[in-house]
Every structure is written in structure tokens, then in C-alpha cells.
Amino acid sequence: MSKTSTNTAFTPPTPQQVTAHLTRCAPRVSRMWVTQLPLLLLIAAAVMTLFAQDAVTALLPWIILIGVVSFAMIRVRHVRGIQDRVQKISDWTQLGQHERATRAIWKALPLVQMMPELHGRLVALMAHNLDKLTAWPAAEVAYDYLISRMPSDHPGSIQLQLQRTILQLFNDELTTADTNLRKLRSMAIELKNTPMSATYYYAALLQHVRTFHLTEAIEENRDNLVEHLRPLGVDAGHGYALLAWCYHQMALRQADNLQANDECMTEARAWWRKATLLLSTQKLFARHADLKQIAAHLAYTSKMDEVEKTAENSEETDELMLEIDTEQVEEDNA
């Protein structure tokens, strides 16, 4: 990742940089004697009190006691500070400030080597942020790192594997993605109406789109796509946009058959409308650049574009971001 100030352009890290950083900052386990040291010192201090002969030997246990208690208090404050920092990074991710979050994760990872839970959380946030920044090869490295450290049938691992499969489809690793989708199908579909099953259905649709299996994409999704993708919330718009693209491509293939062409274009407009009800065209294009081809043909002004422009000046959103940003800007500048 290029080390630039916050004012210059941000470049996401390369897969090699992510691998190197994760190796450098791998989680570590404290040695037993280090974790038990405060208790051992307290016991030693108690025993010393029994054999105190003069002022020095009487005073020393108290110095040890004060030292241990002070160390514990400082350590608790330090851990709380790191937890607050990780929470801020999580909030930035949720607010869509992916560049800031990625920078902060890069700096925070060395600090959490002795805290495995926070370490895992930060790596998961890194993968998510890199995904949103469309640094898909680098995001895949982070997902691989997490998946290799979890049981393969754990629900969290299945969700990560599905996310990784989507990235593999974006990275044109179609064979690997196909193998993973087949493996994950039964586990994902078992949990109906959950984000996991919705992610699976989105990945399956994306696979059809990337392999130009338009007929299968339409057959499998035209009746149930809304229900299948609902657990994704507004992100379901990406799936609707893909189906609109499929219908549009089908219309182009059937240019000679006016009726079929009209039907396909009608469906394309309907699905594109659903997509733009939930997401702005900017967000749709950022994820799937091919959609730009059809946007002009469908010529629908998305209200979400107006919402995003208006909300840029929104006081409430600004206040919320300002509260979270202020302290970190001071830290960054320092």
C-alpha cells in the first residue's frame, strides 16, 4: 500500500503486500510465565513480608504491589483503547469510508497480535474494505487467510467462502469458483432466507453472467430473485441489475424477433428499475462496469442518484461522520 498522506490519492495494497503484512503481523500467543508473572510477583511480595528485617525489605513488597496494580491498570486502558479503535474502524466501514478504514487497519494490525479475536475481526474488515474498493485479488488473499484458520463447516467460514467465490468470479477464476459453488450449495440453501443463502444465489447468478449462460440465469431467477436476495437488503440491487443485463443481452440476441425483443427489453427495464430503486447507478457501475452499456439504453433516472447528491449535504450524516472522524484525524495528523 502506498504510504501517502490523507490528502493524496489512495492506492489499495497489492496481494503481495497483503500477504507480507499478514505474515509480519500474525497472531502470537503469550508465554505462560509472562501471563502468570503478576500473580507470581504478588506471591513473592507476600512471602517477603513474612521475612522483613529492615526498612528496605519491608518497603520492597509494597513497591512490587503498587507496580503490579499500576501495570494492570495501564494494560486494561491500553486494551480498551485498542478495542475502541477497532470499533471506530468498523464504523468507518459501515459508513462507506473504505480508504480511511483500510489505512487504519494497516496501522492497527501490529497492535493486535496478542489479541486473536480482534486480529481476526480486523482481517475480516480488511477483506471487506478491499472488496468494496474493488481490489479483488488483494481481498481474496485476506479471505483465504481467514478461511484457512476456521473449521470449513462453521457458518462464518461458509459466508467467507461465498464472499471469496464472488471475488474469484470477478477475478475470472471461473473453474475454482464453480468448484466452490458446487461444494457450498447444499450448506447455503439449507438456511433459507438468510444472508448466507442470498449470497449464494447472488454468486450463482454472477457465475451465469460471467459465463454468458443467459438462458439459465433468466430461467432460474425471473420468478424468485426478489425473495432470494431480500436478506441482502439494499445490496440486492446488484443482483437485480445483473438480471436486467441478462434480459438486455437476450434482447440484443433476438433483435430479429420484434416481439421477443420487446418482451426482453420490458423485463430489462423492470429489473433495472428495481435495481435503481435500491442503489445509485454509481454504486452499480462500480461493482459491474458492464452495466454502463445498458444504462444508456434503459434511460431511467434513478432517484437514488438524487438521494446520494442530496445526502452529501445532509447535516445529520455530516454530524455523525464528524463525531467519529474528529479524534482519528487528530491521531492521523499527529
Binding site: T49, P61, R230, L232, L277, T310, E315, E316
Partner: protein, 282 residues
């Protein structure tokens, strides 16, 4: 280890602020008695039998050890109830049994007692026992858990939701005012927004509910899908009542994509949906 069978699981009965006050007083009396009494007795015995040249110093060491032992009791009790978010969803009866067991332990550190009551409030909130949620939240907030701001925020949110469910607009207003005074995390800000919107609809302030609509829609998108859809339904109702037909239509279309027909109907009928979650319990 096998879970206890169902009919032997402990339960926590109805609680009042007086119950918490009594428990805290018993804890304090017991702690002080043990913390002072045991070292004093040991010091007297050591001086009497001349076991150490510095009985007073050793006595103070024993006091430090006693203090650590008492904290260990509280730490052990805390371990049973610290991470309960998953247990609330999977087995609420086992969660209640654990809370009941910890509440019976004495003496507990004040903070552990208050945080266990917070877990009880979370359980009652999940069970939609609004009266008990209000009682338990009020009890804990009166004693102000220190150094755990996120817990106070969570208690206020649960209290507000229970008050709205009970139709107590004034109580909900007081709780929302208190929440506005505190710096909230992002998750709690979003939950407060949903509760605030419900309150505004309850008291008929539709135009205020629709203020900065686009900003609120953006914030709603950060909520979990069900809450996001519910927020759209609330704003749709406000827009309809205010005569803003175009906005209402747009919000309704989005809500119908985010919610199933059944969910949409249920929320419209009740104008309520669970908003506050156990989240990351401290």
C-alpha cells in the same frame, strides 16, 4: 457437560428497583465485613502468637489477598453471563437460569451485579415483557453503571422501545432526550433513529419525521434488512399522512423490495418491529 433438564432450570421472578437496592446493600455489607474482618483477625492472631516481626504489614498483605479473592468470585460469576448474545437467541431458558444463578451469588462486585441486571433486562426485552423491561432498566439506570457507557446506552434504547410498546409517549420522550445527550456509537445511533421515528409517528409529528428524509434513508440502509424495511414503512406512513404522495410512493416501493408481503403487512398494522438487539454485550 449436559445442560440441566428443563424442569430444574432456575428462573428469575419479577424484579423491582427495591430488589436491586437490597442486593447491592447486602453485597456492600458482606464485602466490607470480609475485607476488614478477616485481615484484622489474622493480624491480631499473628501479633498474639508473634508469628511475624511486622504483623500490621502482613495484615495489609492479607487484606490485598482477600480483595483479590473477592474479585475472583465476581470474575467467576461474570464469566457465566459475559457473552450471552448467542445464548439469548438459542436457549433463553438456559440464559435465564445462568442469570438467576449469578444473581444469587454473594458478595458480588457492584459492577458485576449491575451488568448482570443489564443481561436480565436484555432477556426480558427479547421476551417482549415490556413491564419487566421498564422496571429492570429503570433500576439499573438509577444506579448508573460506571465506565460502561455502551451498557447505559443499550439500557436506554431498550427502555425507550418498551415504553413505545406500552404507549408511554412521555416516558419515551424522556428516554430519547437522555439518549440525545450522550455520544452514541454508530449502531446505537441507528437504533435511536428508528425509535425516534416511531415516537414522532406516535405523537403525530409527521413533518419532523420526514425532515432530512434522504439522510435518514441513507442511515436506514446501514441497518439490518428487516429494520431498514421497517424504517421505510414508518417514513412511508409519515409521508402519506403529510400528503407527500410522490415520496410515499417511492418509500413504499423500496419497502416492498426490502420486506416480504407478510412482514410489510405486519409492520404496517403494528408500526412496530424489534429494533434494539443484544449487540456486543460488554
Amino acid at each position: 457437560m449436559n445442560a440441566p433438564s428443563q424442569h430444574t432450570l432456575r428462573q428469575v421472578g419479577p424484579m423491582t428497583p427495591a430488589d436491586l437496592e437490597r442486593q447491592l446493600q447486602i453485597d456492600q455489607v458482606l464485602r466490607m465485613s470480609i475485607l476488614l474482618g478477616f485481615p484484622i483477625i489474622c493480624t491480631i492472631l499473628m501479633a498474639w502468637f508473634d508469628l511475624t516481626p511486622d504483623p500490621l504489614g502482613f495484615g495489609i498483605m492479607i487484606m490485598a489477598g482477600t480483595w483479590m479473592a473477592l474479585n475472583l468470585i465476581s470474575a467467576r460469576a461474570w464469566q457465566q453471563v459475559s457473552n450471552m448474545a448467542e445464548l439469548f437467541a438459542i436457549d433463553p431458558q438456559l440464559a435465564e437460569a445462568r442469570i438467576a444463578t449469578v444473581l444469587k451469588a454473594k458478595p458480588l462486585a457492584r459492577q458485576v451485579r449491575l451488568l448482570t441486571w443489564h443481561r436480565l433486562a436484555t432477556l426480558r426485552h427479547q421476551q417482549q415483557d415490556h413491564d419487566q423491561t421498564i422496571a429492570v432498566c429503570h433500576s439499573v439506570l438509577m444506579h448508573g453503571p460506571r465506565n460502561v457507557e455502551a451498557v447505559s446506552q443499550h439500557l436506554l434504547l431498550m427502555l425507550t422501545e418498551a415504553q413505545l410498546a406500552r404507549g408511554d409517549a412521555y416516558g419515551a420522550w424522556i428516554s430519547l432526550t437522555e439518549l440525545s445527550r450522550r455520544p452514541l456509537s454508530l449502531t446505537h445511533t441507528l437504533q435511536k433513529l428508528a425509535l425516534q421515528t416511531r415516537y414522532l409517528l406516535m405523537v403525530g409529528y409527521d413533518h419532523i419525521a420526514l425532515a432530512d428524509l434522504h439522510g435518514k434513508v441513507q442511515m436506514a440502509e446501514m441497518m439490518p434488512p428487516l429494520q431498514c424495511g421497517a424504517m421505510h414503512v414508518l417514513l412511508y406512513v409519515a409521508a402519506t399522512r403529510s400528503g407527500q404522495t410522490e415520496q410515499a410512493h417511492w418509500l413504499d416501493e423500496r419497502a416492498r423490495l426490502l420486506l416480504s408481503a407478510e412482514q410489510h403487512k405486519h409492520i404496517l398494522e403494528s408500526l412496530a418491529t424489534p429494533t434494539v438487539t443484544p449487540g456486543e454485550l460488554m
